[in-house]
Symmetry: D2
Subunit: 359 residues, 4 copies
């Protein structure tokens, strides 16, 4: 088995022209595609329809090649390309490899990029941002690790989750049924859903213990977190999509992944360390999370992101972290997603690089 | 003579509590203050009243100590603390030094930080963004260089200008008098005023020749620029304030300044080069300009800053450049101002460091 | 022939569930649909992808019923449902009527709602906002009037046009080819395109004369306008779509249209007058244009819409006019589109009601 | 005693030029001024510094005339002039009247406009949005009613309160001291503070009973409300300012006040009813509250204000209600404040007119 990753820019959420070129020239085989991660140019908040628009366009595109199987592909769109972030899709493929084709770049016993996928059941509005979401996500992450054929949780380097949020409609529905929701602010619900999902990852990876998590911890006990979770909320789905990225000896090919943790939004050193440890490999994609430090301070100086009623703090944070990481790797077409609740330490977040071994 | 620079954080545009502490403990002498550069937490665009609010508060504050002389101080507020940028004032002082006090850190013949100030006449709305503004700024810059006792234009490392913009009121006034204005978009007028001011600096520093500049070049011929101009537009004044920063043998003291040019918004290397050249000195303040590349691309990838109708591109650009520079110098309380028309190459901008020699 | 109009709410730009119900219960016949006007919940400005998303969803929806003919339908989406405006589609149909079915509500010689459609050729970026756009629109409006079988221009009561805008991409393209564009501000280009389209309507309806219009008049000579033009710019097309609404003796059925002109954004009396003149008929839909008075004043008091760098003035104006008209007709699911350059007097705009005669 | 009200436009939050004219021509007597209500052109949300800026400017202005007594004046600034709302100050004065001056327009036994003022103690962050705030406000309202010499709560027609909000700083402070706050979202805290203040009014006016209110009711039990409360949150104060407007036989003069309740944001009929009941009097000022219906629907149609992550719903609501009321009274320089939690029914709000009897 082999996993591969390729980045494709788009000019609008429905632009699949360059995907088409990649299919035509054989760099993307639609039948092998298992997931597409995207950065789309909406506000990344509640009323961001660029995510759904891109999903619809991608689904139509792949349908032309693989029919109904297109809806089995995991589409994870993260809205918000503030600052220099450049809109694009990251296409992830998985294929069986004949003995004869085994790539000379990977050696026997060497671990290569392994990717696994899973979904949770659909959530009711009242389950979002609460323990029931945490637990279902933990289960789905375990399934995805198995799907990826990763044996050791230490080999998991990035877990991307797309999770739902509460819209005004959903809140109204829950209230009609006499149920309470975790928050009645739609924008705030995104944070709760991201936080609960991240704690689910932390449990699956044994970074925290299920019995140590209560409903009250979600979006409060920032010392409980996963160093590899990356969760992103959107209104275009009602369950969680889980994509696990790691390395495994059961997979071959030139790709592998490594990660580190940014201690705050300007900690470019975290990315430098990963690059420094792998001087021989080419960077294929950078994946990271961004957030405004919830203390209101960064390096002991006040920031204004949390008090800004014109621009939501996730938008500020993506602009900063996107700029910082792009300045280190020299490339603005990277995946930086906002809202890092329980993803890395408060104010910081995970960062990973997918590498390709050179010849 | 000695020039000195100190940064003071504030918690809101009218907060002078820490300024008060600095006066009380003797680190700021109100009678010596010649200018205050500020980063205030407004939108940095047309309807940003945090700049005027801060100026009013600073003026009242200094009036308590020096009376009417407070209005002689040059108050240059740059709005917009997007991302991690931390609101603060940079207080600039100039004092005569008795022979006996000469600081041991500066040696005979060594150049030290020299600062000069000047103002243009008041502009009419129809003059803004046009050659008449360019020429008046060029004259004021020359006066400020003399005021700073800088002998060689090569010793000028940063020229900060605060310039007016066109409000709906001003446009209406011009039209009533039968005059045309350079643009009827108030937000766009900020760019024209910044651009004309920057070309004025370029002429004064012989980076371009006055006879080579026409009205049509302003905000169009991006290849004509100054590498040290930093211009900032606001509705709180109707003339230009000019502050020249350079080094001079006629000034003494531990401070000096150096600069470089960012080629684009993620060019953190420009700041690294300055730091690398001065390993022995402590960073007192970083000064820089930020802009969204007018081509719509950065490092050959599309950015979305210019097409964003929710957040103006200057706000995006400040968030990025602030983050990039803070990640290099480790400090978010720096001066990054938006809109770098004719200030450095298209998409890039000047960056300077004020250093203090160590013991 | 008969024209009919029905409003259908949607819950997101891609929601066609209620359209489906209407098709199933026979109130909409897909083969008769000639146009869909929509209000979608984006920002209504440059980066509003809800318009394209809705068009794509509508096109897919109708394709299921009529195949390729779905792309012949005129989809005119107006972004921006600020304030109380409620997202919806207005579905417009045209059908041949057998003699036997002639509706008793319309009498011999009575004029009924007549709708005609036409398109201009594709425009190059450098043609937008200039005379070439004005002239092509004038021709297309004439064609649409003929298509509607309207004999007298006095019987035209609303002309809806969807026109292109300049994106950063398009501007870059024009510059590469050495062509100038009317403005390099993408948001501002929307105004020029709307203005040029409206002047095209004015010429076709003999409200102004072609020889009296120059390039300089566009977005400057506000005294030249059409009282029935409603133009809306978007990035999802490169030509203009024209839909003419009027009354004609050659069409039968219970629907008819009437219009008036709002003198400013709070002139609810214009709508009251139309209602007052037709006490016997039921309101099917209200159509109107909204804009911030370009003088910066309304009823001699200053407004702040033009100086607001956080919210574009078209968004403010839609919120106001939507509220004012909804308070008069008691219904927030109306069509109010922003940016009324050369559409009604400066600061005001056309307003029309489609009525259905009662039994 | 006589109370009087006059409106004065301003061109920016610090513009007092027209106030100066009014003092010079004798229409405002600084020594009689007890309160200034203002509409300032900020975002009306957390980081709106136009309120504080205006307060500072007004305070300096009145200081010139009355010295330290200027700080006894109640300055209540409401941010947000979305749509057609025109920035202005409403200056409220109270004076003793000599027998000989008694205005012929008011007759013996007739009730005239009576205004009273009071303040609560300073609140700690943890008290905001909770019962302790409710109770203190109720006490202050009672004091203000006495101060106004109003005998019957039925004669109270408008109670304006300016209350604090939670900033990131304040939340941090509470947490440092081990205290919880009602919400950690600064924008949301504005709603809690407004809601608690409104319930305080409702208790003082016997619209609800203190024993029926729990912490959980605040911002949840919308059926509990005051029909005359108008509360406005801002970061420029830490206690509540209360201004009671009513009619009293103990006051004389040509002014009086009347009120009604808007059932939703487009209920212009409420204002028409008041006007209809007082055909003989001139409108001096309109005072109203605006909010986005928390159900997400208005007149059974979905609105998008609560799901909009680019523009806060209070901003949308002010634009709508401002437009609706201005279209009825023909004047955009009115006082419409956003966020009507427990102020009128859900989605609606109080509206009042201050009238002057004609000659």
């Amino acid at each position: 088995m082999r996993c591969s990753v390729i980045r494709v820019p788009h000019r609008s959420p429905d632009d699949v022209e360059l995907l088409q070129h990649n299919v035509e020239n054989g760099t993307i085989h639609p039948a092998d595609v298992i997931a597409v991660l995207g950065k789309t140019e909406g506000n990344g908040c509640v009323n961001d329809f660029t995510r759904g628009y891109a999903v619809r366009s991608l689904n139509s595109f792949f349908q032309k090649f693989v029919g109904e199987a297109a809806s089995e592909i995991s589409y994870v769109m993260s809205g918000g390309t503030e600052g220099i972030l450049s809109p694009h899709f990251t296409v992830i493929s998985k294929s069986l490899v004949a003995e004869s084709e085994i790539n000379s770049k990977s050696q026997v016993g060497e671990k290569s990029l392994a990717i696994g996928i899973a979904k949770t059941p659909v959530f009711k509005p009242e389950e979002l941002g609460r323990l029931s979401q945490v637990k279902e996500v933990a289960k789905a992450v375990q399934k995805a690790i198995e799907d990826a054929k990763i044996e050791d949780v230490a080999d998991v380097h990035f877990v991307q989750i797309k999770c739902p949020l509460l819209t005004a409609d959903a809140i109204f529905d829950a209230k009609q049924r006499g149920q309470s929701v975790v928050t009645e602010e739609t924008y705030k619900s995104m944070g709760y859903s991201r936080g609960a999902s991240a704690l689910g990852v932390a449990i699956a990876l044994k970074e925290v213990w299920e019995e140590d998590i209560t409903n009250e911890d979600i979006c409060h006990s920032w010392e409980k977190y996963s160093t590899v979770a990356s969760t992103s909320a959107g209104s275009e789905l009602e369950y969680c999509e889980v994509i696990v990225f790691g390395n495994s000896v059961h997979v071959e090919g030139p790709f592998f992944i490594a990660h580190d943790v940014m201690k705050d939004a300007i900690d470019g050193e975290a990315l430098r360390r990963i690059l420094h440890d792998h001087p021989e490999a080419a960077v294929v994609q950078v994946l990271a999370k961004a957030e405004a430090d919830p203390s209101g301070f960064i390096r002991e100086h006040r920031h204004t992101m949390l008090d800004d009623s014109d621009i939501n703090h996730t938008r500020h944070a993506r602009a900063v972290v996107g700029g910082v990481l792009a300045s280190v790797c020299g490339d603005p077409m990277i995946y930086v997603s906002g809202g890092a609740e329980h993803q890395g330490p408060a104010g910081g977040g995970p960062v990973a690089i997918i590498f390709e071994r050179r010849g």
